[in-house]
């Protein structure tokens, strides 16, 4: 039975239509969660005094190595294009600009090629240079409750293992790549439904239906990524503001003497010197 032929209890086939309405509600909730996370972090950081220690006491995390320029540049281009994709994509779904669809699509397509190229380049760079930094190890998994506890203001510091913690590794190494792949697939599906989604037609009940489902997935993935990026931005801002500035090339990274893993076992390092 094709997806689109599923009937509700009254025998009406309005599932696809209803799901689009639900998609809007879920998207709104996801944005709300993203905003809520900001509120939670700001309140928590003030309440626990972390904010003061970080922004006034200047107790920021130490960095083992200078971040090379290439990932920074790639990230910068990527972020710019992603923002363009969100704006144009949302304006395509909720049009407000007079006769905006055609130019918006044009911008969406330029930005989307930029994102795909950067994504492939970053993957290549990761495999050549820094994939280790994103690998999730057993230690990471064991460490994860403490990391989570730290972000929820339940615990103090957590042992520093590598450049990124588990949450970061999951976000950078799994969520972002997976969702970008989904976005690219469904996005191309919307551009060339027959070619890209043809093989799904029997399941969905025709190419048109497959495109309609692809649209729902594309939209929800975009909003899910938006939620995660809001969290990502919030943490990079609050946890390591100097690194954020440096990461966007606004300040120069100070050379910091290598410390840590060569001089003491990682489990004993106080990752966050300002641990509350």
């Amino acid at each position: 039975m094709a997806l689109a032929d599923i009937e509700d209890k009254d025998g009406n086939r309005i599932m696809l239509a209803e799901i689009n309405v639900w998609a809007d509600i879920i998207a709104t909730l996801m944005v709300a969660v993203g905003l809520g996370f900001w509120a939670f972090q700001i309140i928590g950081n003030f309440a626990t005094g972390r904010m003061k220690r970080k922004f006034i006491g200047k107790q920021w995390p130490h960095h083992d190595a200078i971040v090379p320029p290439l990932p920074k540049i790639m990230h910068g281009v990527h972020v710019t294009s992603m923002i363009a994709l969100w704006i144009t994509g949302l304006l395509i779904r909720f049009p407000v600009i007079v006769n905006g669809r055609t130019p918006l699509k044009y911008i969406h397509f330029v930005a989307m090629y930029a994102v795909i190229i950067i994504f492939v380049m970053r993957l290549q760079y990761a495999f050549a240079r820094d994939s280790k930094e994103f690998a999730i190890t057993l230690k990471d998994i064991k460490n994860s409750p403490r990391v989570l506890g730290y972000y929820m203001f339940l615990g103090k510091a957590y042992p520093h293992l590598m450049k990124y913690n588990v949450m970061q590794k999951m976000t950078y190494g799994l969520l972002f790549p997976i969702f970008l792949t989904v976005m690219a697939f469904t996005g191309f599906g919307l551009m060339w439904p027959k070619t890209v989604l043809g093989f799904l037609a029997p399941l969905a009940g025709g190419v048109a239906a497959a495109a309609a489902w692809a649209r729902v997935v594309h939209y929800l993935s975009a909003m899910f990524l938006l939620m995660f990026t809001m969290i990502h931005v919030c943490l990079s801002f609050i946890e390591d503001y100097p690194a954020l500035l440096m990461f966007f090339g606004l300040t120069k990274q100070e050379a910091h003497a290598p410390h840590g893993h060569t001089t003491h076992p990682p489990t004993t390092e106080p990752a966050r010197p300002y641990a509350n």
Partner: protein
């Protein structure tokens, strides 16, 4: 004797200049129409010819921008340049205003009550060029009602206009303009459905001018419009897949269930469980966690439209 100059002048192929020369007289005729012209016309009938292009006679009076009905202030001026630019430039006035004959041009038709909307508006049926449209229109809801004399149903002219009609097939700019004009063409009578035509890719996009978004008639048809519960209707359940298929490749019955959203987005949002119960939820939340009903009432959440 001046009046006898009129016929010869009127038969000239460029009636525009004729009326210019006659402007003095026409102004006079307009000003004193109700007392003067009838008297002159009846006393000395002039041999107007309503020849090809056929406007000459009628435009002696109707070509004057100031020709206005005194009581109702209705402007009776017919712009000649607009008529000449229309697809019907070779159609004599009386072919549409069938209740006016050539003789009328020579006389006043003061007090003649004509319902231009009904008579001229349906006159299109008299010409074999329009037989094709008439055939489907006759069977449509609109046609049946209008032919039966229902004032609320659209005659051909309600959708197409009257003197300014241009070719939809050949004139691309006019067709594009017409396509974007559904608010006028259908919306003036179907306000509710125009307003509810509000889904993502079709209605909203259409209203912000997206040329690839469907106009009402891409789904409903132009002349063959029927209610959705009639099997021949283009938006009947059984035909919807084919109708949507004009734009969506391989559209099948299951896909057509999106049709419910085309006019139904707002209603569906309203019926959605979460939104329906959001007030109850909030009250419950307020009672349970904040311990007050006021807190819940003031904390109205944003509606689910990002």
């Amino acid at each position: 004797m001046a009046i006898q100059l009129i016929p010869r002048q009127l038969n000239r192929p460029a009636p525009m200049r004729t009326s210019a020369r006659l402007s003095g007289l026409v102004a006079l005729a307009t000003g004193f129409f109700f007392c003067l012209v009838p008297a002159i016309a009846q006393a000395a009938p002039v041999d107007f010819t309503i020849g090809i292009p056929g406007k000459t006679g009628c435009l002696v009076c109707h070509g004057d921008p100031k020709l206005t009905e005194v009581k109702s202030k209705k402007v009776l001026y017919i712009s000649e340049s607009v008529m000449l630019g229309s697809v019907h430039k070779d159609v004599p006035c009386t072919k549409c205003h069938t209740d006016f004959d050539s003789a009328m041009a020579t006389q006043s038709h003061q007090g003649k009550n004509t319902d231009s909307k009904k008579i001229a508006g349906l006159s299109c049926k008299n010409c074999h060029e329009h037989a094709a449209q008439l055939k489907v229109y006759d069977k449509s809801t609109h046609g049946r009602l209008a032919m039966g004399g229902d004032d609320k149903a659209p005659t051909c002219a309600d959708c197409h206009g009257s003197h300014e009609i241009k070719s939809l097939k050949k004139n691309k700019a006019y067709r594009a303009e017409f396509r974007m004009n559904a608010k006028q063409v259908c919306g003036k009578c179907h306000q509710k459905y125009y307003a509810s035509y509000n889904d993502y890719y079709h209605g909203r996009a259409y209203k912000t001018g997206a040329a690839d978004a469907p106009a009402c008639w891409d789904c409903h048809g132009a002349h063959e419009i029927l209610p959705a519960d009639q099997t021949e209707s283009k938006v009947a359940k059984g035909n919807l897949a084919k109708t949507c298929g004009t734009c969506h490749p391989d559209s099948r019955a299951g896909f057509a269930n999106f049709g419910a959203l085309i006019h139904g987005r707002d209603t569906m949002l309203g019926k959605n469980l979460l939104i329906k119960y959001k007030d109850k939820l909030l009250t419950w939340f307020g009672d349970t966690f904040l311990g007050s009903k006021e807190a819940a009432a003031s904390g109205k959440p944003a509606a689910a439209k990002p």
